[in-house]
C-alpha cells in the first residue's frame, strides 16, 4: 500500500484500546468495519457547519448540504465504474437495496412458474426478500450448489439457469466462506436466457475492485458501514432502463414532481426512490469513506488481505482440532475464514477469544441454509480488513491455541 499500515492504523482511533485488558484485535469486519477519523470528522464538520435539508432549500446551508449529498453519487460511480451517477440510489444498506429490487422491480415482472436462482451460500437478506416475492407472484426459488472451493459451480448453473429463469441473485463473495463467485460468467448465462443479474456486493465492494460494466450485471447492492462508512448507508446501483421500470417503495416527501388530489408524478431516477429526508450526514460520510478507500486502492487492499490469508490460514490449520469451512486454499478466502474447534461450540470459542481481546463472530452469520449445507449449527468467523496486521493474525492463532488448552 502507498500508506504504510502503521500509519493507516493511526487513522482508526477505535483500534487503539484494550478490551478485557488486552489490545483490541478487531476481526469482525464482515459484520461491520471500523471508521477512520476522516469519516468521523466529516460527520462532525457536516453537523457543525452545513446541516440542513437537501434539495428544497434556496438558502446557503441547504445548497451546501445538497452539493455534498449529491457528490457521493459521483464517488460511487467511480468506485464501481458505473456509466452514470444517475444510476446510483442511496439506501440504508444492502438489505433495503435487495428488498427494493425484489418488490419494486421483480414483483412487477414475475409470473407463476417463473424462477429466481439463488445459491445455498446466500445471506438471509438475499433469500427472504425473494421468498416474499415468490409468495406474491407464484414464482419459485432454485438454489445453486457450491463446489469444494465454496463457489457456485458453472456446470450446475448451466443446468439450473434456463428459459424459466427471470432473475439470478448471488453474493459476489460469500459472507460465510469468503469465496469469490464467477459473476461475469453467471451474468452471461443469465442474459443468454433473458434473465436479470442481481449481485449482492456487501462482502466484495469493500475489499476488491468491482466494475459493474466489466461484469455486465444489472443490479448491485452493497452497504456503507462495511466499507468504512457510517451505519444506515447503502447503495443500490442499477442499469438506467431497469431503474426506470422499477417502482419506488417510499412515497411522500422529496420523491415527487407534482402532487394532485388523487394522483402524483414522481421525480426522475434516482430521486424517485429517495422518499422522505434521507440519511444526509451518513451519505456524506460514505463519500469520505470512498475517497479514503480509493486513495489506498481497492487492488492494494485486496492484495494486503490476500497476503494475510496466505500467512494465517496454514498456521490456523496446524491448530489441533481446527475445522475449516470452505476451501483449504487461502486464495479462495477474501478476508473471511469460518471455522470451529473440534468439540467446542463457537460461542464458547468466541467468549475465550474476547477475553484475549480478539473480536470474532460466532453464530449462523445470517446464513442458516448455508449452515445446514455445512452440517453445523453455527461457526466462528474471523474477517479481516485493510487495517489488520500480521500481529493481529498471530494473536488470533495464539488465542485459539489458548482456547484449546482452556477446554482440555
Amino acid at each position: 500500500m502507498v500508506k504504510k499500515i502503521s500509519e493507516l492504523r493511526a487513522d482508526f482511533p477505535i483500534l487503539d484500546q484494550t478490551v478485557n485488558g488486552e489490545p483490541l484485535v478487531y476481526l469482525d469486519n464482515a459484520a461491520s468495519s471500523q471508521k477512520p477519523k476522516q469519516v468521523i470528522q466529516k460527520l462532525v464538520d457536516y453537523y457543525e457547519h452545513d446541516n440542513a435539508n437537501v434539495h428544497r432549500g434556496v438558502h446557503t446551508l441547504s445548497q451546501r448540504a445538497t452539493q455534498a449529498y449529491e457528490a457521493t453519487r459521483d464517488k460511487v460511480k467511480r468506485l464501481i465504474n458505473a456509466p452514470s451517477e444517475r444510476e446510483v440510489v442511496y439506501t440504508k444498506g444492502t438489505t433495503e437495496a435487495i428488498n427494493w429490487i425484489a418488490r419494486g422491480y421483480a414483483q412487477k415482472i414475475l409470473k407463476p412458474g417463473d424462477e429466481i436462482v439463488l445459491s445455498y451460500a446466500e445471506h438471509h437478506s438475499n433469500i427472504v426478500p425473494w421468498q416474499q416475492v415468490c409468495e406474491q407472484t407464484g414464482a419459485k426459488l432454485v438454489y445453486l450448489d457450491l463446489n469444494k472451493r465454496g463457489q457456485v459451480e458453472l456446470a450446475d448453473a448451466k443446468q439450473k439457469i434456463g428459459q424459466k429463469t427471470k432473475l439470478v441473485s448471488l453474493a459476489q463473495v460469500s459472507n460465510v466462506l469468503g469465496a469469490l463467485n464467477p459473476i461475469k460468467e453467471i451474468a452471461e448465462l443469465a442474459h443468454a436466457n433473458q434473465a436479470i443479474m442481481v449481485v449482492d456486493g456487501a462482502q466484495s465492494v469493500p475489499h476488491m475492485p468491482v466494475d459493474v460494466q466489466a461484469l455486465d450485471i444489472d443490479f448491485l447492492a452493497f452497504s456503507g458501514h462495511k466499507m468504512l462508512g457510517p451505519t444506515g448507508t447503502g447503495i443500490l446501483w442499477g442499469k438506467r432502463e431497469l431503474l426506470e421500470l422499477m417502482s419506488p417503495l417510499d412515497f411522500g416527501g422529496e420523491m415527487i414532481d407534482f402532487v394532485e388530489l388523487d394522483h402524483s408524478t414522481f421525480k426522475e431516477v434516482p430521486w424517485k426512490f429517495e422518499g422522505g429526508t434521507q440519511n444526509i450526514a451518513g451519505v456524506i460520510g460514505l463519500g469520505e469513506a470512498i475517497d479514503y478507500l480509493l486513495s489506498i486502492g481497492l487492488d492494494q487492499i485486496q492484495a494486503h488481505e490476500q497476503a494475510l490469508m496466505a500467512d494465517v490460514l496454514p498456521k490456523l490449520q496446524q491448530i489441533e482440532g481446527f475445522e475449516l469451512y470452505g476451501s483449504p486454499d487461502p486464495k479462495d478466502h477474501l478476508g473471511i475464514i469460518s471455522f470451529n474447534l473440534a468439540g467446542l461450540h463457537p460461542h464458547d470459542t468466541a467468549t475465550v477469544l474476547d477475553m484475549e481481546g480478539v473480536a470474532v463472530r460466532a453464530g449462523h452469520h445470517c446464513a442458516q441454509p448455508m449452515m445446514r449445507k455445512l452440517g453445523v449449527p453455527a461457526t466462528a468467523r474471523a474477517s479481516f480488513y485493510l487495517y489488520n496486521t500480521q500481529e493481529d493474525a498471530d494473536k488470533l492463532v495464539d488465542a485459539l491455541q489458548k482456547t484449546r488448552e482452556f477446554f482440555k
Binding site: 467468549t351 474476547d354 477475553m355
Partner: protein, 150 residues
Amino acid sequence: MSLSSLDNLYRQMILEHANQPHHHGNLPTADKQIELRNPTCGDVLELAVKLDDSGKIADVAFSGTGCTISQASASMMTDEVIGKTPAQVAEMVEAFSEMITAKTDKDYEKLLGDAVVLEGVAQFPARIKCATLAWKAIYQALQEGGHEHE
C-alpha cells in the same frame, strides 16, 4: 487479561454437566414436548416432560445442539425440576432469570440447587440467552405445552 476470569463462567461443575449431560435423550411416553431455538446462534433444544398422576414432573429429557453453557444449564435444570409442580417450576424459572440478569446478592441455592453455579453468566451478558434457553423451554412446555419457537 489472563483466562482465569473465565473460571467464573466455566466452573468445573458446568464443564462436567456439558460433557456428560444428565437426562439427555428423549422420552417416548412424554406428556409435553417442545422445541425452542435461539435464533442468534442457531441452537436448538428439544425438551420432553412426563408428568405423574398428581401433576408433578415425573421425568424430563432434553436433546439438541448448543454451547457449553446452554448444555450445562439444560442438564442442571433437568436435575432440579423432577418432583416439582408446574407452579414450583415457574417460580424456579423466574428465580433463575433474575439470578443471571439482575446481579443481586440473593441466595438462590434453596430454590435452584446446583444450578446456582451458573450465576457467573451474569458477568457475560452475551451468554445470558445460552443459559436461559432450557429454563424457558420447561416453562413454556408446562404453561402452553405447544410447539413453539423463541
